[in-house]
């Protein structure tokens, strides 16, 4: 088939300005744009994938914890600072309680609980505690 002769204006008078021509032009235009868009998205996806790979290589697996240290970033807001203060208070209370507890000896604890005073009778049985209660 000779394509060149098929669409000569003299053979299709007025045929060029038709809905078919408009449709073809629109399809070509849309498909060319869609192809560029697809390529762009593929390249972005590839770049993102590469970034993630680099990122994952730089980070250790899992969170890194620094014991006994509370790190407060410069840009942290007041709410988080409040939480941090509470955490510090709780730690202070816990430390104080441990210090107080270390001052007590066994006999004073037994006396306080109203249990047997003879240290040789330790360990305290669960039934004894229940009976006192």
């Amino acid at each position: 088939m000779n394509y060149d002769n098929q669409l000569q204006p003299e053979q299709f008078p007025g045929a060029y300005i038709t809905p078919e021509v408009s449709r073809r032009m629109e399809n070509v235009h849309r498909l060319a744009n869609l192809t560029a868009q697809a390529l762009n998205n593929m390249e972005q996806g590839e770049a993102l994938h590469t970034d993630r790979s680099l990122f994952s290589n730089r980070l250790p697996v899992g969170p890194t914890l620094i014991p006994h240290k509370i790190i407060i970033p410069d840009d942290i807001d007041g709410k988080l600072v409040g939480i941090s203060s509470q955490a510090q208070n709780i730690n202070a209370l816990r430390q104080k309680a441990q210090e107080e507890a270390s001052k007590l000896d066994r006999s004073s604890i037994i006396e306080h609980l109203g249990l047997k005073k003879n240290l040789n009778e330790f360990p305290i049985q669960y039934e004894d505690l229940e009976r006192r209660a």
């Binding site: 098929q6 032009m25 869609l34 192809t35 697809a38 590839e46």
Partner: protein, 123 residues
């Protein structure tokens, strides 16, 4: 009665002419698109065209070293998120980034060439 029949035939003929024109335009585009990739070997044939708003088609025919005629048709299904291709009715597979880049180059060249050579009167 005769008028109805005549009108029906005229409508059918008009529809057929539109269909023929649309196919003719695609064939002409395919020929222009086939010229984008350089010379075709003697006895071969190459067409590249926009089938619809989602599909590129590349049709290639050539004669191999044992004088056998070979035909390969590749469809590229273009989606916003990527491009799939199927050859000779086989399953679709995702194209590589390099192939997508080459297809995009061909697509933009196709659009320019077709608009300049075939539809320049309408712009």
């Amino acid at each position: 009665m005769l008028k109805k029949l005549f009108d029906g035939l005229t409508a059918k003929s008009r529809e057929q002419r539109r269909l023929d024109l649309y196919r003719g335009l695609i064939r002409h585009e395919a020929k222009i698109g086939g010229q984008l990739f350089g010379l075709v070997a003697p006895g071969g044939r190459r067409e590249f065209f926009c089938l619809d708003e989602n599909t590129w088609v590349w049709h290639e025919e050539w004669v191999d070293s044992s004088s056998q005629r070979q035909i390969k048709t590749t469809r590229y299904d273009v989606r916003p998120t990527g491009i799939l291709k199927a050859q000779d009715g086989q399953q679709y597979q995702r194209v590589s980034l390099d192939e997508a880049r080459r297809l995009n180059q061909a697509a933009q060249a196709y659009k320019d060439k077709v608009f300049n050579e075939l539809y320049s009167f309408a712009r």
